[in-house]
Symmetry: C4
Amino acid sequence: MPAIPVRAQEDIIRAGRRMDARGWVPATAGNISVRIEGPRIAITRSGGHKGFLDAFSVIEVDDQGNVITPQARPSAETLLHCQIYRLFPNAGAVLHGHSVAGTVLCITETAPSLRITGYEVQKAFEGQTTHETVLHLPLFHNDQDIARLARVIEPHLAGAALGYLIRGHGVYVWGPTMDVALARLEGLEFLLECELQRRRLMR
Amino acid sequence: MPAIPVRAQEDIIRAGRRMDARGWVPATAGNISVRIEGPRIAITRSGGHKGFLDAFSVIEVDDQGNVITPQARPSAETLLHCQIYRLFPNAGAVLHGHSVAGTVLCITETAPSLRITGYEVQKAFEGQTTHETVLHLPLFHNDQDIARLARVIEPHLAGAALGYLIRGHGVYVWGPTMDVALARLEGLEFLLECELQRRRLMR
Amino acid sequence: MPAIPVRAQEDIIRAGRRMDARGWVPATAGNISVRIEGPRIAITRSGGHKGFLDAFSVIEVDDQGNVITPQARPSAETLLHCQIYRLFPNAGAVLHGHSVAGTVLCITETAPSLRITGYEVQKAFEGQTTHETVLHLPLFHNDQDIARLARVIEPHLAGAALGYLIRGHGVYVWGPTMDVALARLEGLEFLLECELQRRRLMR
Amino acid sequence: MPAIPVRAQEDIIRAGRRMDARGWVPATAGNISVRIEGPRIAITRSGGHKGFLDAFSVIEVDDQGNVITPQARPSAETLLHCQIYRLFPNAGAVLHGHSVAGTVLCITETAPSLRITGYEVQKAFEGQTTHETVLHLPLFHNDQDIARLARVIEPHLAGAALGYLIRGHGVYVWGPTMDVALARLEGLEFLLECELQRRRLMR
């Protein structure tokens, strides 16, 4: 079994520090992965704070969620990462974080998606070339049964070029590289924070 | 008298820096302790900023609050730390911080506890395996007489797996290690911030 | 062709880090330029995160927006920078950032300008000597056609001693040096944040 | 003329960095001083960002505001610092910062003082031993004529154990040492932020 490449470990460790600096991985929340190649995926070990990862914190799974690293327990939501890698062959990195803005918006929004329009930062997402587009960010109900949650999400993923949100739980975004995934996460969190503040002012 | 272990000093200094970076130890507020072993407790000295602690800032008390370090004055709320170590044999670290969200929620909430439900981050707390649980975080009235406050708190502590709040004052959390206590503090502060923002949006 | 001076590169890199630390360059948003001399302008390359710039991220254009650096693609809004350098001979640095406060204020304000008065920090802007002045910060509708947007802005620029805002997009400020431009950006963002919070409290 | 002690320079530089990290010295706002001894005062030079001070940024004035350092121009509000040193013989350091919370509260509060009660952090202020005290933080109207402003403030200073606020402008606090002054500033800003959020929730 070939070792996890150092570059994959470093991308994950760096992403965790960045997400921690923004307050998006409270307690032991959040998880982070990169595609090594084909079905080989490097992902954060279950538990532990994502702002203080080291090489040991990164383990390998295949794209069905089977653990390759001996005696390792992957993040609870590993199946959601695997699903993204299977459905998006160009996905090279997946990020799952928890922000206050995203959590609060999800809990108070009753529609099946968040409507986002009029923001220049929308252009951070693939295929978006103008602020005039209306983006619909899917919202799913939280479920501790991750396999069941994945089945609910699956039919909506094809159109989810931006990522998606799980109510009271957090956001999933991805990109061809870790840098792009991080930029999209940042763009999405910026939009969520703007939406939260806009709603407060417009109430 | 054996010296305070370096590890205990370092855990406390590190926790203080982290809490300061998040704005949870304003002025000289907050206090931090670790159990050395059995009834031996290392705790922050009274006064001083918790973001700039050094080895001198950490003193020893026993689990009745008696000061062991010569000529030292422990934090005013030392008895609340001792109470937690006495009642929870597995408690290895106790954190007390002041956040804006916690302070404002406590002051505006008239019920005897804060009701928290629907958040994935609830799972940061012992025995919590789903966001569907309803957590009741006890709220106590502030009292400068710490011995009296401790007596009020005592009957409620057994069920307080998450920690508790003192109105206008701050939060207490604990864990078997400093890392776990810090993760719980972060999880709890995240939940308090979400609750504050949710209430503002739902009003 | 003379190289871009190291000082110009360093000013831009430093400004990007500062803006990132404040959360004003989410995803790949924002752009930053300095005047090298006369019509020679150093500006950030298109794409990439402005918090992690290096010397390669800085390219040269002339004040009509023509690219001088071989095979380089400048920021989409390069023409808006060039316009400022042409109209203000003393402009030595131009900053464009996206803040949550600015974005939300612009989207919710229906007047053609933001009215700002009563703040001491207004004095951070040229020619302002008292908090009693009423400042009118121009608000323009966003447009992906930057040349057209520039033509709309042009007649309003002469009076725009403070900078201006593009709705849902962000703020433009400038100054004789990068330090002054950064101070004005910070002053302006402070005023926008105050206005946002004042409006929320006064509603 | 004896030089300004290095300790005084370092205290001021350090305070500026700390205030900048919290966002309390936007643009070139804020000023910082320490008493060297008796009527000798070290204070920040006019202009410049308080987060990036160096030894040159610190100049000397006497307690009437006369400039001792050759060719130096002190901060515009130097007279307010001098007034505090004259009226409080134990004042060793004075801080003036601008926060969003303080600015917005001052602008929206019509009473001549801010009423603060019920907060444990009140104990950060001299002579305060309980959260049950009612503190009245004086609010003054801003005035670009600092000598006139000082005359308005003077009769209220004796009772101002906590510091005071100038509307739309910022806060003044002091203490026997820079560490104590910084702790009080942090405590006061925490209370102002809590008050702002409490008012928003209670409206």
